[in-house]
């Protein structure tokens, strides 16, 4: 028995050490460091359930270890026959009733919070100003339509802090799931007319990591997006800038100008819109230069962008860009020069004064 106990202690020590080292995760990603209303409400419920479970766990483990130590067969007692007990009405009633009470304690706030999180209609007096965004999940990116604002973007979702932003979620192909752990719980996006609703309410400014949580194909794990929560003033500024994007503006550098031509000639424009436009085959690139990450996963720099343009399949397997442009027979569809020019063009697409860096 001693060996068992000793080994358990080492295990406990090891795992608590590991947890200490790991902390509670990345503050931009972890559900354990809530930064928004949904995540906060859920965190409280989570902790309530943990407290109840720890209480039950302590009782069970106390009995468990006592029984295992006290009632192990003693040496020279091999022939001892214990009393054959049929049961005990009181005890059995006790461990039926107490768990029921504990579950009621958990069930009441569960139901309350389930209804609270499902409340996706703005209050009467705020109906005018409430921001509603239609979110569409597609293999493997996200599209956002700010309803009534003529602003549509992809991948980086700008929201104002301090208010509920309402989302209407659908999918363009298979089921995805929209999840920003540090701000709110997740909700599936269904294909067809089956629209789901939720709200985001970020308490403080910040760039929060979002992930797709419903298995959707080879690049499911690479379908990352960002939620950029800025102050309401900054948000208004951003929305204004996005509305007034001049899609015909001529880029400053020679290389970027040529890149713009290539963007048309290589047929990029068939799938990617610049300027407000409904969800297309590929993401909207209006503010591409301000993206926190390229394709949701690569640091935003020219080198990575060229890699993404030339080897899309290696960066994001199964994506819809592979083989759609340039010389599809060639090993790389775009020459180094072409890719570099297109990259220059895309990276200078920074229509708004408001950048991810402003979110702090």
């Amino acid at each position: 028995m001693k060996g068992w106990m000793g080994k358990s202690r080492i295990l406990l020590l090891l795992s608590s050490l590991m947890l200490f080292l790991a902390g509670c995760g990345d503050p931009q990603l972890s559900a354990l460091q809530p930064k928004g209303e949904g995540a906060d409400v859920i965190y409280d419920l989570m902790m309530l359930s943990v407290i109840i479970m720890v209480f039950v766990g302590v009782v069970v483990m106390a009995i468990y270890f006592f029984v295992l130590i006290r009632f192990r067969q003693k040496k020279d007692h091999e022939d001892y026959i214990p009393k054959q007990v049929e049961g005990n009405k009181f005890l059995e009633l006790l461990w039926t009733v107490v768990p029921i009470i504990l579950l009621v304690v958990l069930a009441v706030p569960t139901v309350q919070k389930t209804f609270m999180l499902a409340d996706t209609t703005p209050a009467e007096d705020k109906k005018e100003d409430a921001i509603t965004i239609e979110v569409t999940g597609k293999q493997y990116w996200w599209h956002y339509n700010y309803k009534g604002q003529e602003v549509q973007t992809s991948q980086d979702l700008y929201i104002p802090t301090g208010e509920r932003v309402y989302l209407k979620l659908t999918a363009g192909d298979v089921i995805h799931s929209f999840w920003v752990p540090s701000v709110a719980g997740k909700m599936d996006t269904n294909p067809g007319k089956n629209e789901n609703e939720m709200f985001l309410h970020a308490y403080e400014e910040g760039v929060y990591y979002g992930k797709c949580a419903e298995f959707c194909g080879p690049s499911h794990s690479l379908m990352d997006f960002k939620v950029i929560a800025v102050s309401p003033e900054e948000f208004d500024q951003w929305a204004e800038d996005m509305k007034n994007v001049n899609t015909d503006s001529t880029p400053e550098t020679q290389s970027a100008q040529e890149g713009k031509e290539l963007f048309k000639n290589k047929n990029c424009i068939a799938c990617h819109a610049i300027g407000s436009s409904p969800a297309a085959v590929g993401p909207n690139l209006t503010a591409f230069g301000d993206r926190v990450q390229i394709a949701g996963i690569l640091d935003n720099n020219k080198e990575n962008l060229i890699e993404w343009l030339q080897h899309p399949e290696e960066v994001k397997p199964g994506n819809k860009m592979t083989g759609k442009y340039g010389n599809t027979e060639a090993e790389v569809p775009l020459t180094d020069e072409e890719a570099s020019k297109i990259a220059d063009y895309l990276l200078q697409l920074q229509p708004s004064e408001i950048k991810p860096e402003d979110a702090q």
């Binding site: 990345d26 359930s49 483990m61 009632f71 059995e92 569960t110 719980g185 294909p191 949580a213």
Partner: protein
């Protein structure tokens, strides 16, 4: 000794014997070999998954292959490893525990096995024929219905065929337990393993048809151009989620309930005490089985069913914690005041209690619908269901195989080696899965081929992978133990554990007719009653007489083989309609076999009283 039931010798005679056998003890061994093989295949897939996740942004396997691995790991472990290994235990123990000479339908028992086997082989053929299914074991539409290649077709056909086998097996045990109990074996005297097998069989009977329907619809969508799950054509993909989980949730209880029963038997045996609160245990088992059908939508809290449905299913799910808690406390109080022998089966059982309790805690946390919006489809869920399925089912299978090994093979697995296998597996298990609760909450969704660097997920994944290697080491030691034990082949008595139930009253392994005379059961723990209040032997309930036995048959093998061939035909007719020949040929073999079975009278044979007196068939 009469030649009619003499053992034939030679490899091919032995092989033929197993291909045609209808003896529940031999079918148990077939299930063990096939299920054990698929367990290893699923284990290798798991190791590849964990190696891929040992570090961020790893390129060990490609995205496509990873998705095939995770799909096949889940599908294989549930349908092709856990289910058949549970049927191993049910086949070896249930007829013996109720004092029966075989199951009610020995022919169907064989058919059930071969259907499962050929379904499993068909599914795994996909690896060599253009790629395995890659839409997850849950195969959510439209990902599954639009998945390119034939992978998902293999999933549909393979599971359809093996699912039919499982359904047949379930019905068989249901009838067996209701009809074949020895005199005096009333329902409330049945060992808990038999009780839970009965409840499990009921669950199979009601749950598998939902899967069958779902798979049929998906088969028509993929192979014959229907649009049941295509929203753009008026179909509805959420229907698949419902059908799958109406089957899928009871399936969890199908897996774990028999082992709850087994743990009850083991705890009682090795504490030398009758089960504490027997009737409450039976009631809890039935209640868990019943509630198991009321909770499926807790897998769909984020699908968008709305707060009313979510709340109802949340509360129903929490309710299951009550009967499960009753079981945990009854097990603890069975040990209370007992004389606990820490044998290998008991060691696995004792390890099961805290492991499964943690799984249950995860379950209650997940049941809180609002909180599930964070847990859902993350590693928290992965951790939870591995705590339930490894901590409950796999621990139970190791316990059960070690416990009944002497009854199956007449030899004892080495106790020292058994403990040596236990410790790395036990620690490896907790190391692998405990930290995954935190990984999930720290933002790692499940079914992720890669995780990104610098997002706080590195250490957790590394620890998890290291733990997986320890589990692999434990499994390998268990296998070595099996090999060494088989080579040594030291015979043991009929009752090596000093146990309490009927299966231990006859030799190990039992003669092919099990009981020379049907025993008379005089109480709960029939053998224990005789040990304490009788002469230690069962009293016969009948005079020595002729025993009616069924003949072996090759027809179940042929029926299943036909469906196996037809499966390929149905899958490939999409590419080229000439493959329909295979479908026709396969169906012809199956239908012809059924025809032969229908018209040929096979009345079996009798073992004569005189031969029994001379000890026919016993070793």
């Amino acid at each position: 000794m009469s030649t009619a039931y003499a053992q034939k010798n030679g490899f091919f005679a032995g092989l033929w014997d197993y291909l045609t056998t209808v003896d529940h003890k031999k079918i148990a061994i077939l299930y063990l070999i096939a299920g054990g093989f698929f367990f290893l295949v699923g284990g290798i897939e798991a190791m590849l998954i964990r190696i891929q996740l040992i570090q961020p942004d790893n390129e060990f396997v490609s995205a496509g292959l990873y998705n095939q691995l995770l799909t096949m790991h889940g599908t294989t472990m549930i349908f092709l490893a856990a289910m058949p290994l549970i049927f191993t235990l049910m086949n070896i123990a249930v007829p013996l525990q109720i004092g029966a000479r075989d199951v009610a339908f020995p022919f169907l028992n064989s058919l059930g096995f071969w259907l499962f086997f050929f379904g499993g082989v068909l599914l795994n053929c996909s690896w060599f024929m253009g790629g395995a299914p890659d839409a997850g074991w849950t195969a959510y539409a439209p990902l599954s219905t639009t998945s390119p290649g034939h992978g998902v077709d293999f999933y549909v056909m393979g599971l359809q065929i093996s699912g039919a086998g499982t359904l047949i097996g379930g019905i068989n045990f249901l009838v067996t337990i209701i009809n074949m109990r020895a005199p005096g074996m009333t329902y409330m005297r049945m060992p808990l393993f038999t009780w839970s097998s009965l409840v499990t069989s009921v669950l199979i009977l009601f749950a598998f048809p939902a899967l069958t329907v779902g798979l049929f619809l998906m088969m028509f969508d993929r192979l014959f151009g229907a649009n049941f799950f295509d929203p753009s054509m008026g179909g509805n993909h959420v229907i698949w989620e419902h059908l799958f989980w109406i089957f899928g949730h009871p399936e969890v209880y199908i897996l774990v309930l028999p082992l709850f029963g087994l743990f009850s038997d083991i705890i009682s045996t090795f504490s030398k005490k009758r089960l504490f609160g027997y009737s409450a245990m039976v009631f809890a088992t039935v209640l868990i089985g019943f509630l198991g059908f009321m909770v499926w939508a807790h897998h769909m809290f984020t699908t968008g069913l709305g707060p009313v449905a979510n709340s109802i299913f949340a509360i129903a799910t929490m309710a299951i914690a009550v009967p499960t808690g009753i079981k945990i406390f009854n097990w603890l109080f069975t040990m209370w005041g007992g004389s606990i022998r820490m044998t290998v089966p008991m060691l696995w059982t004792v390890a099961f209690i805290p492991s499964f309790t943690l799984g249950g805690f995860g379950g209650v946390m997940l049941a809180a619908a609002a909180a599930d919006y964070q847990y859902h489809d993350t590693y928290f869920v992965v951790a939870h269901f591995h705590y339930v399925i490894v901590g409950g089912v796999v621990f139970g299978l190791f316990a059960g195989l070690t416990y009944w090994w002497p009854k199956m093979f007449g030899t004892m697995l080495n106790e020292k080696m058994g403990k040596l296998a236990f410790w790395p597996f036990f620690f490896g298990f907790h190391l692998t899965f405990f930290i995954q609760h935190f990984l999930g909450l720290m933002g790692m969704p499940r079914r992720y081929w890669k995780f990104q660097p610098d997002q706080g997920l590195e250490i957790g994944n590394l620890v998890s992978t290291l733990g997986a290697f320890l589990m692999a080491i434990g499994t390998i030691i268990f296998l070595i133990n099996v090999v060494i034990t088989t080579i040594k082949g030291e015979k043991v008595s009929g009752d090596p554990w000093d146990a309490r139930t009927l299966e231990w009253s006859i030799p190990s392994p039992p003669p092919f007719y099990n009981f020379t005379q049907t025993p008379l059961v005089r109480g709960l723990d029939a053998l224990w009653v005789e040990k304490r209040h009788g002469n230690g032997k069962m009293t016969p309930a009948e005079p020595l007489g002729d025993i009616h036995m069924p003949n072996n048959s090759f027809i179940p093998f042929m029926m299943s083989l036909g469906l196996f061939i037809a499966g390929f035909g149905f899958i490939y007719q999409v590419d080229n309609s000439s493959y329909l020949i295979l479908a026709v040929l396969g169906m012809a073999i199956t239908l012809l076999s059924m025809f032969v079975r229908s018209v040929k009278d096979d009345l079996g044979y009798h073992i004569h009283k005189e031969d029994l007196e001379k000890g026919a068939g016993s070793e």
